[in-house]
């Protein structure tokens, strides 16, 4: 395995900036490529790389396929980018695979859709205080004003106790990258090529990376594909649906936990099947698998966390190790953050069932992966947006599913296995709506320098 060149890799790919609670994203359209390159040249020292720890501010940059094209990346190198990246997230075929149909269709997106302006560049800004973020943003926008058009500024909102808007602790299960993150348990450890182009993947082959003719340059190496989706959450509808189930208060939270696969404080159902523990030891939040729960009596097969990362679920392979290896070909590094005011300050389920407002809120879902088709799109298509996942009949992901489906089974059941017979929730409405999306590529520092100097 080749060593990781930390100073060449943009830091967000490897680290989440957990201490920088304030973040905003700028989406830009380049009007004057040469001037933009000049700006990039002047500011390349401000891009946060993974050899240093970002203390107060961080800045990262990524490009869409049209953006790279506009900056005169050679045609030869450009063509070697993956088909998914070049086509973009909003093609008809891709929308069908990802579930971006009906309410989720790109035609209705705030950005990234067919009727919104082309995005070339994404700037990701992070800071430890609101004031620092504002200063950073106004500095950047004033500098770039003359040669770019700002399409979107998307802000984020850190929520109480690192939860997401439905009220569940988020971001607990990230893969570890061998040679980067030290605490790696083997079953949760990925080869660097699952995240970085030009590195060895989980199959033992080198992840393809765009390069120049005769391997003249290694443009794509140490870069990563970035998926950005704005997922609006209808929190009121989620808790109202549960409130309507004719059970007791505690049981409503229990049903919600069954849908998620974790209790609100993040405790996994696999370890705490009947009751939410008062305290969750962070060390065990991600230290479990499903090998002793084949029927899903603890954590339902259809639940969100089980189908987005089935861990050691028996997917038909005989050996537990093989099942884990097979699942680990489809992992992603999540970097999302919530946006919008929470429905209740402390995200208390009881309060949220009664609360009422229509303010937009949700998740800016961001993730990195080295193979869009095999990782992000696979999870979305084969696990989330597949009502037949691992033997099920009609259960889309209870949180993310776009229901009812336009073709085939409606997908709006949720099966809760229990003794002696399963319970089924029926006619689950849609809780999450896609409001925007794009595929980006986050290049290495050396690739940024190549872009600055390219003048074909």
């Amino acid at each position: 395995m080749q060593p990781i060149n930390f100073s060449n890799i943009q830091s967000l790919i490897l680290y989440a900036y957990k201490d920088l609670h304030h973040a905003a994203y700028l989406m830009l359209h380049i009007e004057h490529p040469d001037l933009f390159k000049q700006w990039l040249d002047d500011n390349i020292g401000n891009i946060t790389t993974s050899n240093t720890r970002a203390k107060s501010v961080a800045l990262n940059i990524a490009f869409t396929a049209p953006g790279l094209h506009k900056l005169n990346l050679s045609q030869h190198t450009y063509q070697q980018f993956s088909r998914e990246f070049k086509e973009g997230i909003a093609t008809n075929k891709r929308s069908q695979l990802l579930g971006d149909e009906g309410n989720n269709a790109p035609e209705g997106w705030n950005w990234g859709g067919p009727s919104t302006p082309d995005i070339d560049v994404l700037l990701l800004c992070y800071a430890d205080s609101g004031a620092a973020l504002e200063a950073q943003m106004s500095h950047i926008t004033s500098e770039l004003e003359a040669y770019t058009t700002q399409i979107q500024q998307l802000n984020t909102q850190a929520l109480f106790d690192r939860k997401e808007h439905f009220g569940f602790k988020d971001g607990l299960a990230q893969p570890n990258i061998a040679g980067v993150h030290s605490k790696a348990e083997e079953s949760n450890s990925l080869a660097p090529g699952e995240l970085l182009l030009g590195q060895e993947s989980g199959y033992g082959t080198t992840t393809p990376f765009p390069h120049g003719e005769n391997n003249f340059s290694d443009f794509g190496k140490d870069g990563s594909y970035l998926v950005f989706r704005q997922l609006e959450q209808d929190v009121k509808r989620f808790w109202q649906y549960l409130d309507q189930q004719n059970t007791e208060e505690d049981n409503k939270i229990y049903l919600a936990a069954k849908m998620v696969g974790r209790w609100p404080n993040g405790a996994p159902l696999s370890l705490f099947p009947t009751k939410e523990p008062d305290h969750l030891n962070p060390a065990i939040a991600n230290n479990f698998d499903y090998s002793d729960d084949p029927q899903g009596n603890h954590c339902p097969m259809a639940s969100h966390i089980r189908r987005t990362n089935p861990r050691a679920t028996d997917l038909g392979l005989s050996d537990k190790k093989d099942n884990i290896a097979s699942v680990n070909h489809h992992r992603i590094m999540r970097r999302g953050r919530p946006y919008g005011k929470p429905l209740h300050k402390y995200l208390s389920p009881t309060a949220m069932m009664k609360a009422d407002d229509t303010e937009p809120r949700g998740l800016h879902f961001l993730c990195f992966n080295a193979d869009l088709a095999r990782q992000f799109e696979f999870i979305q298509q084969t696990w989330v947006n597949n009502e037949k996942f691992n033997g099920l009949y009609n259960d889309l992901d209870p949180l993310l599913g776009s229901r009812p489906k336009e073709r085939g089974p409606s997908g709006d059941d949720f099966t809760i296995p229990q003794k002696p017979m399963r319970h089924k929730l029926k006619s689950i409405p849609q809780f999450v709506t896609t409001k925007g999306g794009a595929y980006f590529f986050m290049p290495s520092i050396s690739a940024l320098k190549q872009l600055i100097n390219s003048n074909e």
């Binding site: 063509q79 037949k388 089974p409």
Partner: protein, 427 residues
Amino acid sequence: MALSFHRSHIAVSIICPIIPANVSPLIKYLEALNHSLHSHPTQEHPLFHKINTHHFCRWTVLPASTGKQGTYPAQLLFESNIDGPLDLYLELLIQQDRDTLTTIYQHCEGFNASSIKRYLSEHNIAAPVHYRGAHFHSQQQIQDDQALYIELECFINEKHNNGSLINYFERGLKEQLSKHLKENGINWPFETSQKQPKSHWPTLLGGIALLPFIALPLGVFISVWYITLRKHEKSDIPEIHNDNMAARHNHIRHVTQEEQQATQSPMTSIVEIKPGRFRLITLKVVLWAINLLADIFYNKGKLGSINTIHFARWLIIDNNKRLVFLSNYDGSWENYLGDFIDRAAMGLTAIWGNTEGFPAAKRLLLQGAKNDIAFKAFARKSQLKTHCWYSAYPQLTLQNVLNNSRIRQGFNKPMNEKQLSKWLTEF
């Protein structure tokens, strides 16, 4: 009705040359037919929906092409997986929709509308490998089992909602379900016995008993074969796939247009066999062995450990020059190909290693498909668009089919506590 359920599936593969000028009109016609099947799923088409003995079928055009070993004419391929026999099936097709059949085959060489049946059966070829996911399940049985599942599902949901099912113990639950069926006049599940796939172990053991007598000549033969194989493997130059990425990506866009629309998808792929007798014979022996394995071991819904294939087959066409692969699978293409790599790399390498463009293999079984990037590139490059495709039960995965069958079989089978517990989780 219960007794007609145990037919073994038969592979129909009818290949006819197309009159060159008729190729694009035929593709247009088939695509329109396909469109009408899928855009109005409730409208029944006599050629497809009215026949209850076929599971999956497709008409697709193998376009004219030039390979390393010569040029190949455009041909029309009809694939069907039927409850047999062929004669009866062809009669049924003709009886249901002679007009559509005539329209399709008028595009082909040597077709005579007055003898459709003879024309079709003369062009039917044998499939060296025919894999079936749900052995001995007729199309009608699969449909009936699903109707049974739905009936019971509604009953259980209703009982759950009024809280009256929870109170029963496991025995009581089964009785309750049985009673519900009988009260509604649904008696066939209790009368149907499921034919189980045969074990061919005795034949195999017989073969092993013969071994001492043939060991020496066999050993010599295998050694010579192995040395020749290694020589071939070392001298083969594997194709470099990233020659023209733009063309490659356009091809994938074209062939995937109709793929993965819903629960199931078809896959059609065609490749040239490497030149020379050695590769052809090796391929034929491997296919024979895999077909045998599929019959003996992989006859319970899993090929290796792949549990998403309803039917698949390999065909050798064009005077032993090309290999066709046809499959009807569940879920996404990425999942299917990932399964190939994780779960069946050896078998697939043993087959496709004898064809052009496959990633370099070692000792027949190794490397090859394990080279994920090159293997997926090979699979996409060899893939063709499937022009017209029909499934008799488009909303069921193979896992659903087998689960429904287990539920039905449970009604006609005494069970111990453990089996009963397991059975109740299947609803």
